[in-house]
Symmetry: C2
Subunit: 121 residues, 2 copies
């Protein structure tokens, strides 16, 4: 199996309603490019995986613990393990590049969405 791949060749996973991820899994981490439809929401949740990322395009309102920020391209975040967080994508949607550690073995059962052209890059 190659160590290389292409976002355009990956079948997206449905993470939440209106939110799709193209993922690369290592041994220790899951790396993902996540597309959020305009106005889509990630309800408050928490997980043992720490979650770091950068906003590639669009805007979103992001809450981590007690802190809420309006984010634009170039914003970064670092969510420690088990800290509750929630997101609302802006009116143009958003694309985030994120990593989860340990890797998201719990994503194996997610719905696979039809292949589509990535919105980014």
């Amino acid at each position: 199996m190659s160590d290389f791949d292409q976002l355009a060749g990956m079948q997206p996973l449905r993470i939440w309603d209106g939110i799709a991820a193209r993922t690369v899994h290592g041994e220790l981490v899951s790396f993902a490019v996540i597309e959020l439809d305009p106005g889509s929401t990630v309800p408050e949740h928490r997980h043992e995986n720490e979650q770091l990322g950068v906003l590639a395009s669009g805007t979103m309102r992001f809450r981590i613990g007690e802190e809420t920020r309006e984010l634009g391209p170039g914003a970064t975040w670092c969510i420690p393990a088990n800290v509750p967080h929630e997101v609302e994508a802006g009116p143009q949607g958003a694309v985030a590049v994120e990593v989860f550690a340990p890797r998201r073995d719990d994503w194996g059962g997610l719905e696979r969405l039809p292949a589509s052209q990535p919105q980014w890059p």
Copy 2:
């Protein structure tokens, strides 16, 4: 300390000659946006950290183990621990978003470059 930051506010680290990283460190991973000057090279090296990434802009020739690819935007890679790899940036340079696990505590001694405007996004 906030869980949020901005690429534009980070002082880049000099990873290799002509190659600069703006980084966010978690407990388990280091997340980085890496800018490669046109024609810059990462000499063959290896490390215990697995390394996953996506090419955000530009082009580069990437070798992992015995496999070499010419990459454009949207290409992804997953370098297992301790596998030798090398990179040559294309004539317009490149920007990669990458993660390293375990985190790069060995980067603490790297030279900090002067603050500058990020090339991406």
